[in-house]
């Protein structure tokens, strides 16, 4: 029977730190589609991520720009609301989504990321599942 390696301490510390990101009051939009997992892996292509929580959708087009990425965000239903782009390796970047449901964000550090969309009442805020970009 194989023996599981003793993990470095940082694996454990990351697990412990994850608890601080607990947001039980915020609904999670699950990752339904990731073009990275379905397309032939051509270099330099745009990656499309689609998240859903009920009838609310968040589509993110990711373009790699070196160590950072650019994001084009589209939300359904469209609303002029705030979206918080929350990369693990950088500060939260706040963007306003236009009435057409679109927003962009450049120079987002690569790595795990979640986007919190502040849909206005009666809708509740939704955040996307964590995903690596």
């Amino acid at each position: 029977m194989a023996i599981i390696d003793r993990p470095p301490e940082w694996v454990r510390l990351m697990g412990l730190a994850a608890f601080d990101h607990r947001e039980p009051s915020v609904q999670v939009a699950d990752l339904d589609y990731d073009s990275l997992m379905t397309q032939t892996n051509s270099a330099g292509g745009e990656r499309v991520l689609r998240f859903s929580a009920g009838d609310r959708l968040v589509t993110v087009r990711v373009t790699a720009t070196g160590k950072t990425v650019s994001l084009a965000i589209a939300i359904v239903p469209p609303q002029a609301v705030r979206a918080d782009i929350r990369p693990v390796h950088g500060p939260v970047q706040r963007r306003w989504v236009g009435p057409d449901g679109h927003a962009t964000c450049d120079e987002v550090p690569s790595g795990p990321l979640s986007i919190l969309v502040h849909w206005a009442a009666p809708l509740r805020p939704v955040r996307t599942a964590w995903v690596q970009v």
Binding site: M1, A18, P24, V28, L36, M37, T40, P112, S114
Partner: protein
């Protein structure tokens, strides 16, 4: 209170099952979450090792897997299967990372990841080890409280000497060996069910 009494109070009094830990973590119990992290850090690390990721990529995979578990923990269909769920999640994140690095041809369907992959025998063996460990944990949880305390101390790393166990648990030193034998027989019976 004497020093020995203080030490007795520090002895873990009960081994929780993964289902119990998950239920408590859902309620916001940080200690339960920390125990889950202790139980499954080795599994996540093992998965990242399978993909030979550099430390930076392995760190992103580990962090994403933990975050995914936290956001999904109240929706696990079978909390006792948390190990395999976490391993599958970590494997998917490893594949994303590898795909991002443009080293492999990708699978067409994430469902493919759930099928048997003969290249993953080491990982499967690791998962079996984890599940076996969980079975043992569940069996130990069914032992009488005093027996569990003794077994916890005997299986510590390094094992606690009989003299210290007798002192900490206030039991005759001559009873520890026979209790250990009875514990092992009971565990064997429970695991054979």
């Amino acid at each position: 209170m004497t020093a020995a009494a203080i030490e007795i109070a520090d002895v873990p009094t009960r081994l929780a099952t993964p289902e119990e830990l998950v239920a408590r973590a859902i309620e916001g119990d940080r200690a339960a979450w920390e125990t889950l992290v202790d139980l499954y850090s080795g599994l996540i690390w093992s998965v990242t090792r399978q993909f030979r990721l550099c430390d930076a990529d392995a760190a992103d995979v580990a962090q994403t897997a933990w975050m995914r578990l936290l956001e999904h923990i109240d929706r696990l269909r079978d909390a006792s299967r948390i190990g395999p769920w976490l391993a599958t999640t970590a494997r998917r994140e490893c594949l994303r990372t590898v795909a991002h690095r443009r080293r492999v041809v990708l699978t067409g369907d994430e469902g493919d990841l759930d099928r048997v992959d003969h290249a993953q025998t080491d990982l499967d063996a690791s998962l079996l080890a984890v599940e076996r460990s969980q079975d043992v944990g569940s069996a130990v949880a069914q032992l009488p409280q005093r027996w569990r305390d003794i077994m916890l101390l005997l299986t510590a790393d390094p094992p606690t000497p009989y003299e210290e166990i007798a002192l900490r648990l206030q039991v005759p030193i001559g009873s520890i060996g026979p209790t250990r034998r009875r514990c092992l027989r009971r565990l064997e019976a429970l695991l054979d069910r």
